[in-house]
């Protein structure tokens, strides 16, 4: 009975895991590179991806919040980047635009302007 419950729970959780770790090409457009400069307002410090939310001023002067998907917290920590390095800091992000037209980017690299810490993605092709 316990085993059946475990399997059932596993099945319930599977879609959540799949949603968290998606393929790049399903969500992002490799033909649309984009560079953003903004200020970090929120951070999702998680694995397999961390999510950095940045406020970017558009050409019309309006501020838009962009969601930046980067390597996971474990990879960032190994690269010497800590959670505390992000909030309120200015960041330059280079990556690829989301296919669905939302302000979302997959980061190839980002640079924390004040601390000059840089992270360059080296994840292998899926």
């Amino acid at each position: 009975m316990k085993a059946l419950a475990t399997v059932f729970l596993g099945l319930l959780l599977t879609p959540i895991v799949l949603q968290a770790h998606h393929s790049f090409s399903a969500v992002y457009d490799s033909n649309k590179p984009i560079t953003l400069r903004g200020t970090v307002s929120k951070l999702g410090w998680s694995n397999p991806h961390a999510h950095i939310y940045i406020e970017v001023k558009g050409p019309d002067g309006k501020v838009l919040t962009w969601e930046v998907e980067s390597a996971g917290a474990s990879n960032l920590q190994r690269a010497g980047i800590r959670k505390e390095d992000f909030i309120g800091t200015e960041v330059i992000v280079k990556g690829f635009l989301a296919k669905d037209g939302t302000p979302a980017v997959n980061a190839s690299s980002f640079t924390l302007v004040q601390s000059k810490k840089e992270y360059v993605s080296e994840e292998p092709n899926p």
């Binding site: 490799s30 984009i34 280079k94 635009l97 190839s108």
Partner: protein, 161 residues
């Protein structure tokens, strides 16, 4: 009487100049495969800042350069450049406009392209500059991506198939 030698001299000068220009122009034609071990580190990874095709097919004539690049995640990108450096509109995926030009600078080819598309940040433009150099069966492409005042350069090496 003096007119004949002058005309002859001019003709020879033009002829020699054309021949020497043709001789300094290497032929980049062929099928070229990306060699990751000889290329710079920044090209590797899931989403490289400066993307390169994994294979390039080049057909070069006296006036044109046909380039077809294939990559893991992209549909083949085909381009026909005029080697006089005039601007051409390139074939691009839906929603993207791309123009470019190619010209010889000595023994190298310089290819510049400008890609534009709309994004939540407004009209977005990215410029690429490629410098192609040939050494036997090795093609080296130095490529610079410039966008929003930020530039990155990487170098890819291709072996002839």
């Amino acid at each position: 009487m003096k007119r004949v030698p002058i005309t002859l001299g001019l003709a020879l000068l033009v002829g020699v100049s054309s021949v020497s220009r043709a001789q300094t122009r290497p032929d980049f034609s062929g099928t070229w495969t990306f060699n990751q071990s000889k290329s710079t580190k920044g090209i590797a990874g899931n989403t490289p800042i400066v993307p390169f095709p994994s294979q390039i097919v080049v057909k070069q004539t006296a006036t044109e350069l046909y380039v077809e690049g294939t990559s893991v995640r992209q549909a083949p990108l085909k381009a026909v450049f005029r080697l006089d450096g005039s601007k051409v509109t390139l074939e691009a995926p839906r929603g993207i406009t791309e123009t470019g030009e190619a010209r010889f600078e000595g023994a190298t080819i310089v290819v510049t392209t400008r890609r534009s598309f709309s994004s939540p940040a407004g009209e977005t433009v990215v410029d690429f500059k490629e410098i192609w150099t040939l050494a036997g069966n090795v093609l080296t492409i130095e490529k610079t991506r410039t966008q929003s005042g930020e530039s990155d350069t990487e170098t890819a090496v291709y072996d002839k198939v």
